[in-house]
């Protein structure tokens, strides 16, 4: 199953002009636990999807919010010449297709 089929919200956003942050949220504890227990969501998997060093990936499990979070430095600072997503809102797409066994 794909992460997008289990999560009820996958989103990305700036966390300030220099950081991108990604939230993966669920409707219920069972869905959250299913993804957590699969072990498929982890900094190494994220680093592979976003082609960045794993040391730059921060990962948080937030059970009381039924959510996971990743944060990475922005490849281009918000608004820098060449940046095409001022709010960082459309950077979550690669996470959608992550296979959850």
């Amino acid at each position: 199953m794909l992460l997008a089929d289990i999560a009820n919200l996958i989103r990305s956003k700036n966390a300030g002009p220099f950081t991108l942050t990604f939230d993966i949220m669920f409707a219920d504890l069972a869905s959250y636990r299913r993804v957590k227990d699969s072990g498929a969501l982890n900094p190494a998997a994220f680093a592979k999807l976003y082609r960045c060093p794993v040391e730059e990936v921060r990962f948080f499990e937030c059970e009381n919010a039924l959510a996971f979070k990743f944060s990475i430095p922005r490849p281009l600072t918000q608004g820098e010449l060449g940046d095409g997503d001022m709010h960082g809102g459309q950077q979550f797409i690669p996470l959608m297709n992550l296979e959850i066994p």
């Binding site: 950081t19 939230d23 922005r74 600072t77 608004g79 060449g82 095409g84 997503d85 001022m86």
Partner: protein, 468 residues
């Protein structure tokens, strides 16, 4: 200020940003619950560096005036202070003065009398360079390099104030605190901290309240009403169909934050690792267990510098032969543009002084280097060509000189003259004016929490009765 013998303190967060559109009915309803103050954030870097660099606000003046008017009138009606922070989007001096002018109009139109504390947050460059020499400007992670010339070349630098300048203003009797760049949470934590409420709860209450109804399960028209007691926070919305749930309140700590648990402020960090969230009723959530860790005092800096002036051309390509060899075709177009610029403008346009960027919609314009599937070719692509140069005149000419090669640069599949680019407009070139970039992700270490901020008291008087 009476706070029920200091057992609890109540406040309203009427909207996530001044100008966002306050629900006046919900504000009235919340006002009947006897709040001790109203606070509202007016700023963000979310839209980009332009507001800070240019000194203008992101919201229309009419929208800011409507919301500010509702808040100031509510504050006077209930005889409670109104605190506005990060005025005019970026919280520079020009932004604060812009909102102050609006407040003057409101006071006159509604015959209000307001003891107003205006707190400026823009930073003196000589002061910052002194701090830099003393190693009292420290990088956050990640941070661009800093030097005296980065400070000098920034159009505007603001410091993000904590609770202390706000508290001074309240202690001196301000009915209306109009602050420049300010921590969002500090706007709500200032008065509870003055009253001795636990810092973990005071800061967390500010954090969950500052975005207005974004903390609710679904976004809608309403206001947030928050109560802090000695050992808990309760938060609820007023507004049709709105509810706070344990998950929605817990999840709000994630939004636009790189770390969902640790939230850094001037005087330390509040830590939500042990926070608990429970439903009291269908719309109200109780929070307990939030903690605060004191740290050496720092003030976050934000700066923006002019990156140049920009002109753009918008259009598209449908020809599969061109789309099939887009990278090499664009490389050819770029070289042709550079040659034209060199021939026509010569010494007026050194290659290192300008840049031509292509945003290729349909390929990787949105995700850039993060795009996982850049090899997938669509049947149509959109192109935005951005020419950026030290003057608008030069940017305009660069874009003008880009049009011909974009239109006619040949491919071997077609004999003779082609027109490969579908221009959207005539004139094809759109001047965008100045563009800015962020220059700082640093904190300053001041000697005192208030030395970077300047407070002026003004008695705003909207009636014939004197303000003496």
């Amino acid at each position: 200020m009476a706070t029920d013998k200091f057992q609890q303190i109540r406040f309203i967060s009427p909207v996530g940003s001044v100008g966002g559109g306050i629900s006046s009915a919900a504000l009235e309803e919340a006002l009947a619950q006897a709040p001790h103050f109203i606070a509202c954030d007016a700023g963000t870097t979310d839209a980009g560096p332009f507001s800070l660099g240019m000194g203008i606000a992101a919201f229309p003046r009419e929208a800011v005036k409507r919301d500010l008017s509702l808040m100031l009138r509510a504050g006077r009606k209930a005889n409670i202070p109104v605190i506005i922070g990060s005025a005019g989007t970026a919280g520079g001096d020009a932004h604060v003065d812009w909102v102050l002018e609006i407040a003057r109009e409101i006071v006159t139109e509604h015959h209000l009398t307001l003891r107003t504390a205006v707190i400026y947050a823009e930073q003196d460059k000589a002061y910052l360079k002194r701090l830099l020499q003393q190693n009292r400007i420290l990088p956050l992670d990640p941070a661009p390099p800093i030097s005296g010339s980065v400070i000098d070349s920034s159009s505007r630098i603001v410091g993000m104030m904590g609770v202390e300048p706000l508290q001074q203003a309240i202690l001196q009797g301000a009915d209306f605190v109009l602050a420049g760049r300010c921590s969002d949470s500090a706007l709500f934590a200032a008065i509870p901290l003055m009253q001795g409420f636990p810092p973990g709860l005071a800061w967390h209450a500010g954090k969950v309240s500052e975005c207005g109804t974004l903390v609710c399960e679904t976004l809608g028209q309403g206001v947030i009403f928050t109560t802090i007691r000695r050992d808990e926070i309760t938060i609820r919305p007023y507004g049709d169909g709105l509810r706070c749930t344990p998950q929605s309140v817990a999840a709000h700590s994630l939004y636009e934050n790189s770390d969902p648990y640790l939230h850094r402020e001037c005087s330390g960090a509040f830590d939500l690792t042990n926070s608990t969230f429970e439903a009291i009723d269908d719309v109200t959530v109780r929070i307990r267990g939030s903690e605060f860790i004191s740290e050496p005092y720092t003030v976050k800096l934000e700066g923006a510098a002019l990156a140049g002036y920009q002109s753009i051309i918008v259009g598209g390509i449908r020809d599969p032969h061109v789309i099939g060899q887009l990278d090499s075709w664009l490389a050819g177009v770029s070289s042709y543009i550079d040659e034209s610029v060199s021939h026509v403008l010569g010494d007026h346009a050194d290659k290192s002084s300008y840049s031509i960027d292509f945003h290729i919609y349909g390929i990787n314009a949105v995700m850039g280097c993060l795009e996982p599937d850049p090899k997938h070719l669509p049947h149509e692509i959109g192109i935005v060509l951005e020419a950026t140069a030290p003057t608008q005149d030069l940017a305009h000419k660069l874009a003008q000189l880009s049009r011909q090669p974009l239109l006619h640069y040949p491919i071997k599949e077609w004999a003779g003259s082609i027109t490969a680019f579908a221009c959207l407009h005539n004139p094809a070139v759109i001047d965008r004016g100045p563009v800015y970039r962020f220059t700082l992700n640093h904190v300053a270490v001041p000697s005192t929490p208030v030395e970077m901020f300047r407070t002026h008291f003004i008695d705003l008087c909207g009636s014939e009765k004197s303000c003496s």
